[in-house]
């Protein structure tokens, strides 16, 4: 029986953590993720869960401790945002290369500078090449659902990789919205007990984790890690299917919204996907053939699958909530276009940078993007291939 409730995204994730009741949670506070460890420690203090909470002195330590406890055989997690994730950088790679199935709930916030506490994806995108699985949420419901699916994905024998469950800072983390929760027993049965095959605190079966590896071994190890990440795609889909059976909610690597006959598609990730869907509904009423592809799983990157999903449209707007300073576009822009090219899908693309450091992204801006795509295809009006949305512009000098 679904429980209808209303809560913020942070509350929803904390609620899911209580239901899963992992063994160990080392954490250090940083806005806007602070509420998560705060709420978890309140649950623990009230005797509603018995996770071992470790207050540490930094995020470098929280991720180190999470890796340590996971290696020891304990189901572990931590939470962070922005600079906290940046401080974990070295450990993020270790968690993945040591094949630790731990979970990090990331509440996306921009990275300095300029210093700012609001949402964009520069923290998560900065960690895109660390070997973690990354799953992004549109709203509190998805943040909750994705967390519940995280351990079954991470701990699957074909995967054994850490999972980052991401949601947009403030926009969903601090917004109260309706949600459907599941009963504790249902969640516990779905996630199950953690029974690792090999772990450090296993008397009589000694192991060594993270040994130095000379060049003859390291490259092979990296290849194996890549294979596991690729295999995780299938596992993510299997877990989603099992999750649908208990929740009635369907998940995939991405969601296709009104794209069947769409000429123009907006590819977007996170909370802004909801805004884009609203705009698509509005434009459909005017007869415009538009749709949205909402990317849920950014790592592993579903290049082939996306190329197929976009192959029938005339132009795609690739939306990046992150500047990557490569002079050529944002991270999604680069990866989607390379995916299209490699799969020989030669459609027009425009890479838009939006919503940096909490800049609002509106339904009207979605209309403008679709209008530009249409104008490009229908009237041959060239669009800048890599451009910013919502930026103030200097007024043109009068003649």
């Amino acid at each position: 029986m679904a429980i209808k409730d209303r809560m913020s995204g942070n509350e929803a994730v904390a609620y899911a953590i209580r239901q899963v009741n992992p063994d160990v949670m080392p954490a250090f506070p940083i806005t806007p993720s602070t509420e998560i460890p705060q709420m978890v420690s309140t649950y623990i203090a009230n005797g509603e869960m018995d996770t071992e909470f470790i207050p540490v002195e930094s995020e470098h330590s929280s991720m180190s401790a999470a890796i340590g406890s996971e290696a020891a055989g304990a189901r572990s997690l931590t939470a962070t945002s922005s600079a906290g994730l940046a401080l974990m950088w070295e450990e993020l790679l270790l968690a993945a290369s040591n094949r630790m199935p731990l979970v990090l709930t990331l509440v996306n916030r921009t990275l300095s500078g300029p210093i700012n506490i609001n949402c964009d994806h520069s923290d998560g995108m900065g960690a895109r090449d660390t070997g973690w699985i990354q799953i992004y949420a549109e709203n509190n419901q998805e943040a909750y659902d994705n967390f519940i699916q995280a351990y079954p994905i991470a701990e699957h024998a074909d995967v054994h990789l850490p999972v980052m469950v991401c949601q947009d800072g403030f926009i969903t983390s601090h917004a109260v919205e309706n949600i459907e929760l599941m009963e504790d027993g249902v969640v516990k049965d779905f996630v199950g007990e953690y029974e690792p095959e090999e772990y450090l605190l296993n008397p009589g079966k000694p192991i060594a984790v993270g040994p130095y590896s000379v060049s003859n071994y390291a490259m092979e190890a990296k290849k194996n890690q890549e294979i596991a990440l690729e295999r995780s795609k299938e596992v993510i889909l299997q877990v989603a299917e099992a999750f649908e059976k208990i929740s009635g909610r369907k998940y995939g690597l991405f969601e296709e919204y009104r794209t069947e006959d769409a000429d123009y598609i907006m590819l977007i990730m996170g909370s802004a996907a909801g805004t884009a869907k609203q705009a698509v509904d509005d434009l459909r009423l005017q007869g415009k053939k538009v749709g949205v592809v909402k990317l849920r799983v950014f790592r592993p990157f579903p290049a082939k699958e996306l190329a197929k999903a976009l192959s029938r449209c005339k132009a795609v707007a690739i939306m990046d909530r992150c500047e990557s300073y490569n002079g050529n576009g944002g991270p999604l822009g680069s990866e989607v276009t390379s995916g299209l090219y490699r799969n020989k899908v030669m459609i027009e693309t425009v890479n838009y940078i939006y919503g940096l450091a909490g800049r609002d992204f509106t339904v009207n801006e979605v209309y403008d993007v679709f209008a530009q795509l249409e104008n490009m295809i229908e009237n041959g009006q060239q669009a800048e291939q890599y451009q910013y949305i919502g930026l103030r512009k200097q007024e043109a000098p009068s003649e």
């Binding site: 209303r6 403030f170 601090h174 109260v176 919205e177 909801g274 609203q278 009423l285």
Partner: protein, 202 residues
């Protein structure tokens, strides 16, 4: 544009409880079976600085995740904001604005940048001092928002708030009565003035 439900924008100052009022309104509207959103616009925590908070209330699921630019209702928790913030920006012509002030509607109108729609005033300070002995404007302003928006039945609202306060103030039960009194007193004020205003603007 397609409707995204009833949209409310709150203007207050850090520490006055505008954010709490928005979250409470989301709470009570949820209990009447509606889809809700309640969220503040976040920045650094600065007591006294102008802040904005938002509500969307709808019969259908809400997907938009942006601020509100064309609200149906604006609630001004602190009248000093009228001099610094364009509170009626984008406010729908058939919408309404509620201002916490001892001034009359006629006195406030010139301060609202030519807004032609409905204007309501409520003296939240007076109500709060009378019911709570302290100045907490958010309970009266919450009741005012419910009265004007009609997003829910008043009796249902009162019953829900009783439960909410009992939960929220479990450790300070002495303030529940005063807050309930403030809500009811505000609703009574609106029983009279609201109808007058509706006639006026009609």
């Amino acid at each position: 544009m397609m409707s995204t439900g009833y949209e409310i924008r709150w203007h207050g100052r850090g520490g006055q409880g505008a954010k709490t009022a928005a979250l409470l309104l989301a709470d009570v509207a949820f209990k009447t079976g509606k889809y809700v959103q309640g969220f503040p616009e976040y920045g650094p925590e600065r007591m006294g600085a102008p802040i904005t908070a938002f509500n969307r209330i709808s019969e259908v699921p809400i997907r938009v995740h942006s601020n509100i630019y064309t609200p149906d209702l604006v609630v001004v928790v602190d009248e000093t904001l009228l001099h610094t913030v364009d509170v009626t920006a984008g406010l729908k012509a058939d919408g309404a604005v509620i201002v916490n002030t001892a001034m009359s509607e006629a006195e406030v109108r010139p301060l609202l940048g030519g807004y032609q729609g409905r204007i309501y005033t409520v003296d939240a300070r007076k109500i709060s001092m009378e019911c709570l002995g302290k100045y907490f404007p958010n309970s009266p302003m919450l009741a005012a928002a419910v009265a004007v928006s009609k997003v829910m039945d008043k009796d249902e609202f009162i019953a829900d708030m009783q439960a909410s306060y009992q939960h929220k103030f479990a450790k300070k039960p002495e303030v529940i009565e005063g807050n309930m009194k403030a809500l009811k007193m505000t609703l009574e004020v609106f029983e009279n003035t609201a109808d007058e205003n509706v006639e006026k603007s009609a």
